[in-house]
Amino acid sequence: MAIAGPKIRSIGAAQSPLLGAAMFSPAVLYLVLVIGAPFALAVFYAFSDARIGSTGLHFVGLENFRSILQSPSFRMALKNSVVFTVCAQIIVVVCSGALSIALEKPFRGRGLVRFLILLPWVAPVSLGSIGWKWILDSIYSVITWVLVWLHIYKPYNAPMWLGEPHLAMASVILVHCWRLIPFSTVVMLAGRTAIPKEIPEAAAIDGAGFWRTLFQINLPMMLPIINVAVLFGTIFTFTDMTVVYILTAGGPFDSTQTLPSLAFATGIQGSDLAAGAAISLFLVPVLVLIAFLMLRMAHRAEVV
C-alpha cells in the first residue's frame, strides 16, 4: 500500500490497477488455496489409491473410475441424483410460480405469510430435515395418523415412509421441494416486479383470459428469472447430501443414495479417499454446464 500510495495520486480518481491488485489478491489467493488446490487434489486422488490411514500412494490411472462404473450402488446413485434433481425442479417451478403470483398483490398479513413461507429456506437445512424425519416416522408419523383417521389405512398397517424404496425416494424429493419452493418463489417475485404492469393489463383489456395472459405474456417474460431459479435450484439439489443423509442415510438398500452421499459413505466413512473423490468428480460436468449457462445469461444482460 505504501508503495502504491504516491503513484495513485498522480492518476487521480481513475483506475489504479496496482492498488486494485493489492486489494483483491488476498481474497483471490485464499480462494485459490481453499477451493482451487483441493479441487486439484480431488482429481489427483481420483487417479490414485489413496486411503485414510495408509501412507503409500500410487497412480492407478482410470482404475477407480472403472470399478465405480461397474458398481451397482454408483449407478443407482447417479440415477437417483438425476431423478431427484429433475423431479424437484419441475415441482418447484410449478408451485413457486403459482405462489409468486398469489403473493404479488399486497394483502393484510403479507409480512407474516412471507416469513412463514420462507422458514424452510432460511432455517438450517439439517434441522428442517430432522423435523421431517419425525413427520415421516415409521410409527408416529402424522401423515400416517391422518390417513388412518380418514380410514385409508388400518392402524399399524400404514406404509413406512422412509423404509420402502419408492416412498423413501418420494420423501427425499418432497423435502427438497419443501426447502426450495421458498427460494424459488422469492426469486420469481423479484422477477415479476421487473415485468412492466401495463402489458398484462393491456392484454386483459383486449380480452385475454387468465391462462392466455399467463402462457403468452407472463411466462415468456418471466423465462429469464425462471432460468435463474432452476439453475440455482439444480445446484442446491444435485450437490446436496444433507437431506438424504439425515432422512435415510442413502437407505433402504442404497435406494436413495445420491452421488454426494455415496461419496461421503465411500470416501469418509469407508476410508476409500480415491473412490470417494472419483465419485464426487461426477458432479463436475453438471456444475460446468450450469456455470456456462449462467455466464451466457450474465453476458446477455451486459449486452442488452
Binding site: 500510495g5 480518481a13 412463514l116 438450517p124 419443501w178 458432479l283
Partner: protein, 282 residues
C-alpha cells in the same frame, strides 16, 4: 357484469386457497416442532391421540433435558464463535476485493468478479474429501478451527458479489471529492466508501453468519467429538443415543436454533435475492 363479478370472486378464492395451502404446508414442520417441544411423552407416543393438539398439560421437561443434560448450549456457543470469526475474515478479505474489482481494475475486474462468483457454485460435496486430508495434515481435525479455515471459501465469493453491486451504486464523485480534499485513493476507500456502505456490509454480515449456521457437510466431515460440534450437526447426530430419538428435545433444539436465524435472514432477504438475480433482471 355478473359474470365478471363471479370470475373475480372465484379468482379471489383460488388466490386465497393457494396462499393458505402453501403457507400451511411450508410452515407445518415448524408448528410440528413447536407442539412436540411441549408435549408429554405419554401424549407424544400415544398413536390414538389427536397429534395436532396438546392432549395433556404442556411440559418443560424436554427443554430441561436439552439445556441441562446435552451439549446443546455448547453447540450454540461453538456456532456463534465460528460465525463471528468467519464474518470477520469474510469482511476483511471481501470488502477490499469487491471495491478493487468495481472501481480500480476496469472491465476485467468485472470479469474476475463473475469468475469469483462462479466459485460459489463449487459445492462442499466436491471438496470435502481432499479438504478432510488438508485439515488433518494441518492438525485442525476435530476442532472448530478447521471450519474457520474452510467456511470463508463459500462466504467470500457471494459476499464479494453482493458488495460489488453495492459499491457500483455509490457515485464516483464522492471519492473524487475526498481525494481533492487530500486523501489517497486507499484513504478515500477507508474514510469515505466504507462508512457509507454500512448497510451493504451489514447484509454481508448477516448472510455470512446464516451460511455458517446452515452448513452441514464440512462440520460433519471434519469434527467428531461431541463437545466440538456445530449446532447443525450436533442436533441431528448427537441428540440420538444409539437408536433412541429424544424427539421432543430434538424438535425443541431445531426450533430454538432455527427461529433467530430465520428471522435475521428474512430481514435481509431481498438483498440476497438481488444478488442471485443480477444479470437476469435489468
Amino acid at each position: 357484469m355478473i359474470r365478471t363479478g363471479l370470475r373475480k370472486s372465484s379468482a379471489r378464492i383460488v388466490h386465497g386457497t393457494v396462499l393458505i395451502v402453501f403457507t400451511v404446508l411450508l410452515a407445518f414442520p415448524f408448528y410440528w416442532m413447536l407442539i412436540a417441544t411441549f408435549k408429554q411423552n405419554l401424549d407424544l407416543y400415544a398413536v390414538e391421540n389427536n397429534p395436532f393438539i396438546l392432549n395433556a398439560k404442556p411440559t418443560l421437561d424436554h427443554l430441561r433435558l436439552l439445556f441441562n443434560e446435552t451439549r446443546y448450549v455448547r453447540w450454540l456457543g461453538n456456532t456463534a464463535l465460528v460465525g463471528v470469526i468467519v464474518v470477520a475474515i469474510t469482511l476483511l478479505l471481501a470488502i477490499p476485493a469487491a471495491y478493487a474489482l468495481t472501481r480500480l481494475t476496469g472491465r476485467w475486474g468485472q470479469r474476475l468478479g463473475i469468475g469469483i462468483f462462479l466459485t460459489y457454485l463449487v459445492p462442499p460435496t466436491l471438496l470435502f474429501i481432499p479438504l478432510s486430508r488438508v485439515v488433518a495434515l494441518l492438525g485442525l481435525q476435530d476442532t472448530i478451527w478447521s471450519l474457520v479455515l474452510v467456511y470463508p471459501s463459500f462466504t467470500i465469493p457471494f459476499s464479494i458479489w453482493l458488495l460489488m453491486a453495492f459499491f457500483k451504486s455509490i457515485p464516483r464523485e464522492l471519492e473524487d471529492a475526498a481525494m481533492v480534499d487530500g486523501l489517497t485513493r486507499f484513504g478515500a476507500f477507508v474514510r469515505m466508501v466504507i462508512p457509507i456502505s454500512t448497510s451493504g456490509i451489514l447484509t454481508v454480515v448477516i448472510f455470512t453468519f446464516t451460511l455458517v449456521t446452515q452448513e452441514f457437510v464440512y462440520a460433519l466431515t471434519f469434527i467428531s467429538p461431541e463437545s466440538q460440534q456445530m449446532v447443525g450437526v450436533g442436533i441431528p447426530i448427537f441428540l440420538v443415543r444409539g437408536d433412541v430419538y429424544f424427539w421432543s428435545s430434538l424438535m425443541a433444539a431445531c426450533l430454538i436454533a432455527s427461529l433467530p436465524i430465520a428471522f435475521l435472514y428474512n430481514l435481509f432477504l431481498d438483498r440476497f435475492i438481488a444478488g442471485f438475480t443480477v444479470g437476469a433482471i435489468k
